[in-house]
Each structure stands twice: as structure tokens, then as C-alpha cells.
């Protein structure tokens, strides 16, 4: 029995040693932990991570995952943060802000913030947007006679070829609620009208897609003729010469941005500022646009021909084309209620 107790004690000690090994980083200026999307990570290291390492001598470590998973991790490690920079979509950034996970940035520490498109600078002083995606209609060019120029196409009683809608779990979902409210209701915050109009067509939708690959697969196999989606979803298909197009609606132009946030209490705050400044440099933005298809927010960074082919002028100057971010505070506050409403009223 005594031996068993000794063994238990040994096991516990070993376990505790292991957990304390995942040591907390304090004032660690040699490394920078960047939490980012689990998408094109090698390319990201090639055009952002490694050039940054070369310039500053700071080692970049990526921590990848989806928006919600990474936010949860930050929330759990709130008291002893091990991450410095978080690249995260605007909606999840808003939730993170509510949870006090992010720090405000002094524009003087990130000089490039002075030159980027004005909408990309956060009015409350948090991290800036470094790229954006436009909500529009993805459609089969061979199944739709004229490119749809309005959200009306989805309410066409004929629904030629069928259509899909975004699930509320993908960023296009809440954006589409707001876009519908704006196009048919009193303005950008009119979610009531958005839900009411969506409830009309929900039963006719073939599917509520939960990912970009699911949507492109539905379109490429001709199961549907159109669906609201983000312009980035269409880029691969258009580049590959598939009969798929992206149309910008006349009214209800909503976009989403990916933002770069500094974690509150980041172990390498200065490195984090340098990294975000680097990410906003015109050369880096142009390179990222070329390799990862992220549209630049720095006016001096060239937009690729593919981007303008897909989204037109809005790819260059979204605000000038009437695009704007949704009311993030509203979406964040209402997120549980909207999820339930979507299940009950729309995805029937």
C-alpha cells in the first residue's frame, strides 16, 4: 500500500512538472507567438513570418486554429497570456474585446496605421484591419442568364437552379442578415427585417452551408445556381476557369475584415507592434495579396488582377464602393439570440 501511495505521489509530481514545463513567457522579446488561421500557414510564414524574422531577429511561432477555438484559448489563458498577436475576424475580435482580451494600440507605435484606408483603423483604438472580404452573390455563369445585380435574385419565385444560404455559424450568415435588413428595411441595423425576409426564403434553400469548400462544391457540381458568399470563396474557382462568378449587389453591401490584435498583457508587446506594422507595409500587403489572396488595406499595395476580376472596384476601395462592416457590437451582443432565431425561423 505504501508503495502504491509512493507511485501515486510520483505520478502526480511528474504530471505537475509537465504542466509547469509549458512555462509562462514573461518579457520574452526573442519570440513572438502569433495566433492565426489554420489556412495557408506555410505561405504565411514564407511571405510574412520569415521576412519578419530576418528583419528583426525575433522568432515567429504560429498557433493556428479557427476564430472561436483560438479565442477560447485566449480566454482560458487570460491571466497568463502566452500569445502576442492574434489575427482574427472582426466579429470575433469584438467578442474578444468584450472579454478584455485585447490591448489598445498607440498609433505612434504602429506608424503604418496612418497610411491605411481610414475604415481599417479601429475607432476605439484596438488593432487595425489588415484585409477584408466582401459579401456578394456567387453564381453559376452558365445557369443564370444575366449576372444578378441585387439580392432580389434570391427572392425570385422561380429560383432557377436553386440556391443555398450561409448558415449562421459562418461569418457570411450574420452579415447576410444585416445586408438583407439594409436592402429591404430601415437601414444597416434592421435585423428584424433581415430575419423576416430570410424566413420567407429559408424553406426553399437547398442547404445552409457551413464552410467555403462546401459552398464551392455545391456550385461546382451544379446543385445550386447561386448563394450569398464572400468574394474570397470565388477566387479559386474563377482562377481555375470554372463557370462561377461573383456579383456585387446594388444595395446591402456588407464586408468583413480580418484584424490584427495585440493580446492584453502580451509577453512581447514591442514585437507585437512591430509585427502588425510589418503586416501593414505596402510590399508585404502586396505579397500577401499575391500569395494568400488577402486584399490589401494599404493604398500603395497593388491589388491583383484576379481580385478586380472577381469583385471589381470594390476590391480596391471598398468604402468608396459603398461597402461597410456590419454592426459588430450588435452581432456580438445578439449572438446567442440570433443562433436560436436562425434555427427556429430561417433554417427550417
Amino acid at each position: 500500500m505504501r508503495r502504491a501511495t509512493a507511485a501515486l505521489a510520483g505520478a502526480l509530481t511528474a504530471a505537475m512538472a509537465l504542466t509547469s514545463c509549458a512555462a509562462t513567457r514573461e518579457n520574452d522579446t526573442d519570440t513572438l507567438v502569433v495566433s492565426t488561421f489554420a489556412f495557408a500557414t506555410e505561405e504565411f510564414m514564407e511571405v510574412v513570418g520569415e521576412p519578419f524574422e530576418e528583419r528583426t531577429g525575433i522568432e515567429v511561432v504560429l498557433d493556428t486554429g479557427n476564430n472561436a477555438g483560438r479565442l477560447t484559448k485566449l480566454r482560458i489563458n487570460k491571466d497568463a497570456p502566452d500569445t502576442d498577436v492574434v489575427l482574427i475576424s472582426d466579429y470575433y475580435a469584438e467578442i474578444g474585446r468584450e472579454m478584455d482580451l485585447f490591448a489598445r494600440i498607440d498609433p505612434a507605435d504602429v506608424p503604418n496605421m496612418a497610411d491605411i484606408q481610414p475604415w481599417a483603423v479601429d475607432p476605439d483604438g484596438y488593432g487595425p484591419a489588415y484585409t477584408f472580404q466582401l459579401l456578394g452573390l456567387m453564381y453559376r455563369t452558365d445557369m443564370v442568364d444575366t449576372p444578378p445585380d441585387s439580392w432580389d435574385a434570391l427572392w425570385d419565385p422561380e429560383h432557377p437552379g436553386g440556391f443555398a444560404l450561409p448558415d449562421i455559424s459562418v461569418s457570411a450568415g450574420p452579415m447576410f442578415v444585416l445586408a438583407t435588413g439594409e436592402a429591404y428595411g430601415s437601414g444597416p441595423g434592421d435585423a428584424e427585417t433581415g430575419f423576416r425576409r430570410l424566413a420567407e426564403i429559408g424553406p426553399d434553400a437547398l442547404q445552409f452551408y457551413t464552410g467555403s469548400t462546401e459552398l464551392t462544391s455545391l456550385l461546382e457540381r451544379g446543385e445550386i445556381a447561386m448563394a450569398p458568399g464572400l468574394d474570397n470563396f470565388a477566387m479559386n474557382s474563377v482562377e481555375a476557369g470554372q463557370p462561377i462568378g461573383f456579383a456585387v449587389p446594388e444595395e446591402g453591401r456588407v464586408m468583413t475584415a480580418n484584424t490584427a490584435q495585440i493580446v492584453a498583457g502580451a509577453p512581447n508587446r514591442e514585437g507585437a507592434e512591430q509585427f502588425i506594422d510589418f503586416l501593414l507595409e505596402p510590399e508585404v500587403q502586396a505579397e500577401v495579396a499575391e500569395v494568400i489572396y488577402d486584399k490589401p488595406v494599404h493604398p500603395d499595395a497593388a491589388v491583383t488582377p484576379l481580385m478586380t476580376e472577381v469583385s471589381g472596384d470594390a476590391a480596391v476601395d471598398p468604402a468608396g464602393a459603398g461597402y461597410h462592416q456590419g454592426d459588430l457590437r450588435l452581432i456580438a451582443e445578439q449572438r446567442s439570440a440570433w443562433l436560436d432565431r436562425y434555427i427556429e425561423e430561417v433554417a427550417r
Binding site: 500500500m1 505504501r2 508503495r3 502504491a4 507511485a7 501515486l8 505520478a11 502526480l12 504530471a15 479557427n66 476564430n67 472561436a68 477555438g69 479565442l71 477560447t72 480566454r75 482560458i76 467578442i95 472579454m99 436553386g162 448558415d167 449562421i168 455559424s169 437547398l206 442547404q207 445552409f208 457551413t210 462546401e214 462544391s217 457540381r221 451544379g222 446543385e223 449572438r335 446567442s336 440570433w338 443562433l339 436560436d340 436562425y342 434555427i343 427556429e344 433554417a347 427550417r348
Partner: protein, 273 residues
């Protein structure tokens, strides 16, 4: 005491890993998730169990899991029986063939079903050729059950096989020699003796079907919501951890209940046979 000492010492490392790496995190996420405490989780569980829009989700989850388990048993047990009675040199190869679906990536396997079941897929084309119009099996409960059966059939075959292979085939021969029909020999000798394996298979398939995520998400879509896809939305969209814990709690209770039931059935089976 002298024997127990070493026994415990051997058990402790494994137990320590289980407690630290499984029990503690599971209990913590279920009962006290980030931004929540047991009281909030209890309130959310109550809300879940009384929401008229969410009760059908629970009902659908149970229905899909029970159907999947029943079909797996019906299809898997005979296969396991045949493999167990096949010549030894074939048994290995046949088993490898049976578990092959387990080696495929779920996403790949599921996209295969989308190609078959979609309106423009195989089923759609056959339906159109037969003049049935546009047949859309994709995004229905049927599609979820089909996908889950394919996913979990190997588990049933393996579990049933493990029981059947230990059976002495001469017992069945003896029953036949004493005048039992093939059906009666199967019902009264083969099946009761293989019951423990079949029950383990049922428990595994049921637990798998309740908790599976990718298959129901891709084949069922948002309309045919199950507890697992609801859990995903609550974690990933609303980031409402107490509400997500409530869903996880219901799923855990479901799986534990079925596991207890199958344990009970196994005992009854072993005392009556």
C-alpha cells in the same frame, strides 16, 4: 495485501493519466466552463430540456443513433458470423476489408456520399431516369443515417467478431445434431453466446452516432440539426460555453444511459443462457 500492493502500483500510472487528462478536464468543461459555474450550466440544461425548438433536436439525435445502431447490428452481425466461420487464412483478409472504411478520412468519405446522394448525383440521376423527378436525399435524416452506418459498421463487425471467434463452432454443430433447425441453432446458441460482443458493438455505435459531428454536419445540414452540431454552433458561433456544456451534459447522459442499459442486458443475457 502483498498481492494488492503491486496490483495497485501497476494501476496507478494509468489511473493518474485518466484522472488528469480525461476526468478532470471533462468534469471541468461540463460543470464549470469558462464564464460559467454549475448553477449557470444547470439553468442552461433546464432551458435546453424545455425549449420546444430544441426538444426535436434531442429526439432526432436519439432516433438517428438508435436507427444507426439497429442497422449496424442487422448488417454487421451476419458479416462477423461469416468471417468467424471462414477459413483462418481468409478471416484476416476479410476483417481488414471490413475495417477499411475506418482508415478513410471522414471528410473524404462524407464528400463521397454528397456526390452519390446529391440532386445531380447518382441517386438523383437514377430518380430522374425512373421519372421520379428530382430526388434529393442529401440533407435529410436518411442521409445522416446512411453516412453513420457506413462509418460505424466496422466497429460492430469487429466487436461481434471478437465474441463469435471465441465460440466453439462445435456447439452450433451439436445443436444441429440434436435436431435444431439452422435458425433455432442461431437464435438459441450462436446469438446468445455472441451477445456480449454484439452489445459492446451496439454501445460503441450508439455512442459514436450521438457524438459524430462531421457526418451529420455535411450530410444533414442546418435543418437536420443534431445535438453534436448544436454543440458546435454554441461553442463556435455564440461562444456561449455554459449553454454548450448543457448540450454536452445531455449527450453524456444519453451515452452513459445506453452504456448502463447494455451492461444490464449483458448480465441478463449471460444468466439466462
Amino acid at each position: 495485501m502483498t498481492r494488492r500492493g503491486p496490483m495497485l502500483a501497476l494501476l496507478v500510472p494509468g489511473l493518474a493519466v485518466l484522472v488528469l487528462a480525461f476526468l478532470y478536464p471533462v468534469a471541468a468543461t461540463l460543470l464549470a466552463p469558462p464564464d460559467g459555474d454549475p448553477a449557470t450550466v444547470a439553468r442552461e440544461t433546464g432551458a435546453l430540456l424545455s425549449d420546444p425548438y430544441l426538444l426535436p433536436v434531442i429526439a432526432r439525435t436519439i432516433r438517428v443513433a438508435v436507427l444507426t445502431t439497429a442497422i449496424c447490428l442487422l448488417l454487421g452481425f451476419p458479416v462477423a458470423y461469416l468471417i468467424s466461420r471462414a477459413p483462418a487464412r481468409w478471416a484476416g483478409r476479410l476483417l481488414a476489408l471490413a475495417v477499411f472504411p475506418l482508415m478513410l478520412n471522414t471528410v473524404v468519405r462524407t464528400y463521397g456520399w454528397i456526390v452519390v446522394l446529391g440532386g445531380n448525383g447518382l441517386v438523383g440521376q437514377v430518380g430522374a431516369a425512373l421519372g421520379l423527378g428530382r430526388v434529393q436525399l442529401l440533407y435529410t435524416e436518411t442521409a445522416i443515417v446512411l453516412g453513420l452506418v457506413q462509418l460505424f459498421l466496422p466497429l460492430m463487425i469487429l466487436s461481434a467478431y471478437s465474441s463469435l471467434a471465441q465460440q466453439d463452432p462445435r456447439l452450433e454443430e451439436a445443436a444441429r445434431g440434436l435436431g435444431a433447425s439452422p435458425g433455432r441453432a442461431f437464435r438459441q446458441v450462436v446469438f446468445p453466446l455472441a451477445l456480449p460482443g454484439a452489445l459492446v458493438g451496439c454501445t460503441l455505435v450508439f455512442a459514436g452516432a450521438v457524438t459524430a459531428f462531421t457526418t451529420p454536419q455535411l450530410l444533414g445540414g442546418s435543418r437536420e440539426r443534431l445535438l453534436s452540431t448544436l454543440l458546435y454552433s454554441r461553442v463556435n458561433v455564440s461562444l456561449d460555453w455554459p449553454a454548450a456544456s448543457a448540450v454536452a451534459l445531455v449527450m453524456t447522459v444519453l451515452v452513459l444511459a445506453v452504456s448502463a442499459l447494455s451492461g444490464r442486458l449483458g448480465k441478463i443475457g449471460s444468466t439466462t443462457s
